[in-house]
Structures are given as structure tokens and as C-alpha cells.
Amino acid sequence: MLLWLLAMMQPALAAESYTFHFWSELTAEQQAALAPVAADWNNFPATQQGRLLKVAKGYNKLNLDQRRRVHARLQAWARMTPEQRYVARQNYKKLIELPVRKQAQIKQHWIQVQSADTAKAAAAVDETAADETP
């Protein structure tokens, strides 16, 4: 009976309770931290708003460079699907558990992939431009 009770209560306990807030209801500090997503804010579900508000809380403890990074990435982060954000978190946690050298290798992989992708994209643009030139 005890186990049944626990099973019944688990969903209630697991559900995070966040309240929806309009952008205008946020404090100046919160708005400053979440400025990149101001346009989309009122469309976010309460859960996503709640999590971003907690990010805003951590934002105030960051230095200037870190704040710039957050602002540069916040919009793309907010536009990811919940599943993508979940995968990102899981992979990040796995990465930071690896030895530092392995972490550096993986980051280097990413940079190489990005460079290759950028080069491909640039080449594709050049080809397209060349094709269109009379």
C-alpha cells in the first residue's frame, strides 16, 4: 500500500510548477539578462519561462565575457526543442566527466567540423554566384 501511494504521488511531485509571466512583468534585471528572447518570451510555455528565469538569476553572477556568450547563444538555445535541450544537457554532463585532454579533443573535433561546414557553405555560395553571373 505504501508503494502504491508513492507511485500515485510521483507524478504530482515530479511536475514542476511554473507560472506564466508576460515580458512586462519581469524585473529590469531579468529583462536585461533575457533581452535576446524578448520578442519570443510571451510565446514560451511557463516551464520554459521558469527555466530561463533561473538562467537569468545565474546571469547576474557572470563576468562580462560570459554574459556576452549567453546573450549570443540564448536565442538559438530557446528555439531548440525541449528534446534537443535535453540531449544537449546530457551530452554536456558526459563531456565534463571526461579527462581534460579528451574534452579538448572533442572540442577540437567540433571546431574542425564547423570550419569544414563553413568552407562548404562558402563554396556553395560562390558556385551559386558563378552560375548566376551571365
Binding site: L2, L5, L6, M9, Q10, L13, A14, E16, R51, K54, V55, K57, G58, Y59, L62, Q66, R69, V70, R73, L74, A76, W77, M80, Q84, R85, V87, A88, R89, N91, Y92, K93, K94, L95, I96, L98, P99, R101, K102, Q105, I106, K107, H109, W110, V113
Partner: protein, 119 residues
Amino acid sequence: MNEQEFIAKMTRALDEGVGRLDVPTVDALRAGRRRALSARRHSDAGSVHGKVAVLDWFHHHTRMFWVVLLLAVLVGMAGYQMFGSEEIEDVDILLLTDDLPPQAYIHGDMGSWLGSREQ
């Protein structure tokens, strides 16, 4: 003389002795016996009562034990949910300030990079 015979002789001697006791002595012995029996009765009752009290206490405290255990588990689960949620937000900030952008962590190759052996 074996033990049984000795006991039988002692019993006869005592019985004969009882018959020769004077009245005050008999009364004193009777009163003493009564007191001894009374004391034993109370002792037995206390013992039984004590056992019942212990069982009763345990019965009541067992319920309390399960209630406390249930509350502890529920508090633990709630706490886990709370602290689990805190952990999500900490990871979000770390992700957003990391050397790599969040998109890197959902890249198709990231899984294999993470799973590959250190070279």
C-alpha cells in the same frame, strides 16, 4: 537411600511438624504465604501488563514509524525534484557560457565523440 525416598521422608517429617505447630506460628506462616502469593500475583500481572504495554507501544510507534518513513520518502522525493531542477538550471548556464555553443552538443557526431576511446 535414593533421592525419591529422601524427599518422601522429608515431606512426612514436615507434615508431621506442621501438625505440631502452635496457632500463632500457623497464622504467621499463613499470612506470609498470603503475602507471597499476593506479591507473585502482582508481579505476574505487571509482567503481563508490561508485555502488553510494550506491544501496544510498539504497535502505536510502528504506525508512527511508517508515517515518518513515508513522510521522509516524500520529502526526499520532493527535495530531489527541487535539487534536480536546480541542477538543470546550473547546467543551462554552464552550457550557455561553455567554449562550445549549445548546438555542438546536439551535433550528430557528438555521441560518437563522447563514446570513442581516448587517443
